[in-house]
Symmetry: C2
Subunit: 254 residues, 2 copies
Amino acid sequence: MSGRLTIVGLGPGNPEQTTPEVTRAIAGASDFYGYAPYLDRLSLRPGQIRHASDNREELDRSAAALNRACEGGDVCVVSGGDPGVFAMAAAICEAVENGPDAWRQVEITVLPGITAMLAVAARIGAPLGHDFCAISLSDNLKPWELIEKRLAAAAEAGFVMAFYNPISRARPWQLGKAFDCLRTVLPVDTVVVFGRAAGRPDERIEITDLAAADPAKADMATCIIVGSPETRSISRPGLPPLVYTPRFAKEASR
Amino acid sequence: MSGRLTIVGLGPGNPEQTTPEVTRAIAGASDFYGYAPYLDRLSLRPGQIRHASDNREELDRSAAALNRACEGGDVCVVSGGDPGVFAMAAAICEAVENGPDAWRQVEITVLPGITAMLAVAARIGAPLGHDFCAISLSDNLKPWELIEKRLAAAAEAGFVMAFYNPISRARPWQLGKAFDCLRTVLPVDTVVVFGRAAGRPDERIEITDLAAADPAKADMATCIIVGSPETRSISRPGLPPLVYTPRFAKEASR
């Protein structure tokens, strides 16, 4: 007997940014697996079972969720943001690939959500208005040298960048090193945005530049957007500036 | 007198993927500006005014919307997907920067949406599970040489890529040229996904590889995802394959 497993993205935190299809999937599920702070955002009914786990336990969590689905559970795996962006969808796929045959028979559905960079970008204008990339700064899962290579490639090619997992207690220096790396390629007045809890009451968005970008202003839940040399900030009387990357780009190389 | 201007993203087409904050903003607005097919997706009440315009008229549309807001209108500018990703938010910012002072006093709000690459990715697994980039293949707004430079940089650095605006009647050869360019850098068995109308009744998702990728399978509304060399496809008995990019990457260079 095999149940179903739905991997949902709650969006960045404001319940008004959770899609109706995700809300409906949550209402219909029996068992919920996820990092505790994401499960805390759900309003479960009696009988709906919460299986909270710690950060960095994605594979154990995936195994537990897949086993429960194989037992016939209607399982919901919960991510913040979008489940496909540095989140649980890849962990579930990895578990399926390397796990018992029974897991390949589970009906798996992924329901997208608003990922952090889109929510942060929306709060300040349109910094992702042209070509951009998303990079996880965590060197738990890839060598730091690869991260530096990607930062340099993206900066040299003129991509706007969004950083996920920028810093944590166990990874205190990586964000500073990333800024140092970018300062060798990009103009020091390149726009940098620190965005935390976009759309939530405790939202904190700060616009600065590469020269002044201070890693201490970020935590695990911060999404950082580094502009391209084309990214602009427009001042407005009595209103916050609008940060945007123009839709057109004039030159093939700077 | 100055009204408000809200730039909303409807998501890729399934109304269940439109966020509640966007639905509420639409209910409260007086005037709607956008590309006709996006406005067709709204259910407007009597008294709500529709100002449809053609594709590629983004700046004229922005000017009209900002003028209406300055007259006191509660204006809604409508994008498909996310308004910040190759869509109207950057066009409005550009208009504000280059327009009359009055436009800088309009209260502008951007409400994010599910962008096409997230919706397509969700339908097949987690191809965007590690570092990735989004590239518009339209050379209306940037030189083709810059697009090729970005394709090569992204492929060499191991980013998964999502292509927006891959092809149109006026731009028939660009997608084929992009695949040719990537074939010189990436393995020919790199996963390629053509995703159209994700989550809608007329959805069409095709998984192929770089050797077989046929530009004729794409149209204006197709989002194409090109994997990295790490992207994998897992076969499942009786179910479609799961395509995903692992959370870990082993090497700094291939």
